[in-house]
Amino acid sequence: MAAESKAVVTVLGFDRKGIIAGVSSVLFERGVNILDISQTILDGYFNMVMVVDLSEPTCPFDELQGALNDLGKEMGLQIRIQKNEIFEAMHQV
């Protein structure tokens, strides 16, 4: 996926303080720029989708993924990062 440098971070779980702050700081520390954020809260259930730019990361994808997973475990949330291509493939012709 060399040509593409965008990824999607999704956070699912129960709402609590500091979710966006936590995710943003993990991304900031690794040189990842946030391009777009949208979030909804449905019955206290938190859905956040963040599109990020991976063109100048300071660490490999696996490490970033690991850091987000660790944060997810710490906060009791499911945090994922997936390359943007999967969504483009499935939803754009």
């Binding site: 999607v8 696996d62 390359k83 291509e85 499935m90 939803h91």
Partner: protein, 450 residues
Amino acid sequence: MIQTSQILETLRMIDQEKLDVRTITMGISLFNCVCDDKRRLASRVYSRIARQAENLVKVGREIEREIGVPIVNKRISVTPVSLITGAIDDPIPVAEALDRAAKETGVDFIGGYSALVQKGMTAADRRLIASIPEALSETDLMCSSVNVASTRAGIDMDAVRLCGEAIKSLAEKTGDKDGLGCAKLVIFANAVEDNPFMAGAFHGPGEGDCAVSVGVSGPGVVKRALESVKGASFDVVAETIKRTAFRITRVGQLVAMEASERLGVPFGIVDLSLAPTPAIGDSVAHILEEMGLEKCGTHGSTAALALLNDAVKKGGVMASSHVGGLSGAFIPVSEDIGMIEAAACGALTLDKLEAMTCVCSVGLDMIAIPGDTSAATISAIIADEAAIGMINSKTTAVRVIPAPGKKVGDYVEFGGLLGRAPVIPVHPFSSDAFIARGGRIPAPLHSLRN
């Protein structure tokens, strides 16, 4: 720009509907290993595979992590072994080399301990078929297949007889595991050369040195999509399946292109099959039931499956640059929770399964039959299935397990993706004299096709 709802829909497909890529399969030609010393041949085969597939599992895992879609299996298929063992007297060392190479590379299965004998058998083909019970009972990851018929060549009834005997003997040799060896052996008509699915994968003689192919899955996603069109006409059902199949196949295409680039190996094909697993929510039978059948196997099942099989192809074909393999809906019994339930309650019989294979992508698959079923009856089941494939110009196959010591109503347990199955009855009347005839059933006419 992708909508948030589309992103969440993809996550739902992965988490709840079990969207996955079933396999990345690397096809490897073994023609350059040929020599007339069996030890040297085996060692060349091992080295060739171990080197070529060195990074397959690593790359598969990388892609899986990056796109967030599970890639359940990584597999290898090779040139049919009978084609490279013409100058040696015993193919078993090659079987051992294949199994070792599979373990060394970390793949889940290796396929291609195979012979293509639709028109006749060479001495090497006969040796290979005779060695199947020993080869499959003494290896762990190796799969085997024999193509006994084709629309152009007819049915090789001598090979059909030998394959029935091989299945029987293999079941007995692996009797302590309910005849598990038979789950690794498929008898084909019109086998395809680029199938990435096991147990029937081999790298056909018309293929290049190496290629990566991908087999998709996704029955759960189709079932869920149909839940949203309850009661709608079949026009709507077909369109819904097509749209869903398109999305599933796009995932397969993405994975295939990435794997091809990272491994430096040409892209082969995407196989658009709906491959079920025994997990709840991953069943082809449940798709048919969602169309309005109380139980899979009842009247209407063949029509429902025909629609499904065709719509999957129509939806998937535009999503990939090269579609191939078996591409359609699989109906394995033990690997599909809905099929298991339908067989257990008597809704799904061997005869109905045979009818359904006229319109599904392959054939009689992963069916447990009584342990006392004779080799001739198994051969006759193969002959019937081969006839359906031959006349209808489609791939058909037989993968049955005559589970030693088991009777109708007992269960066989294979575990993992292979699942479990109730033993279902075969006809008690003999086909012995029919199978004893041997020879060939001639190829059919290609016109006057009513």
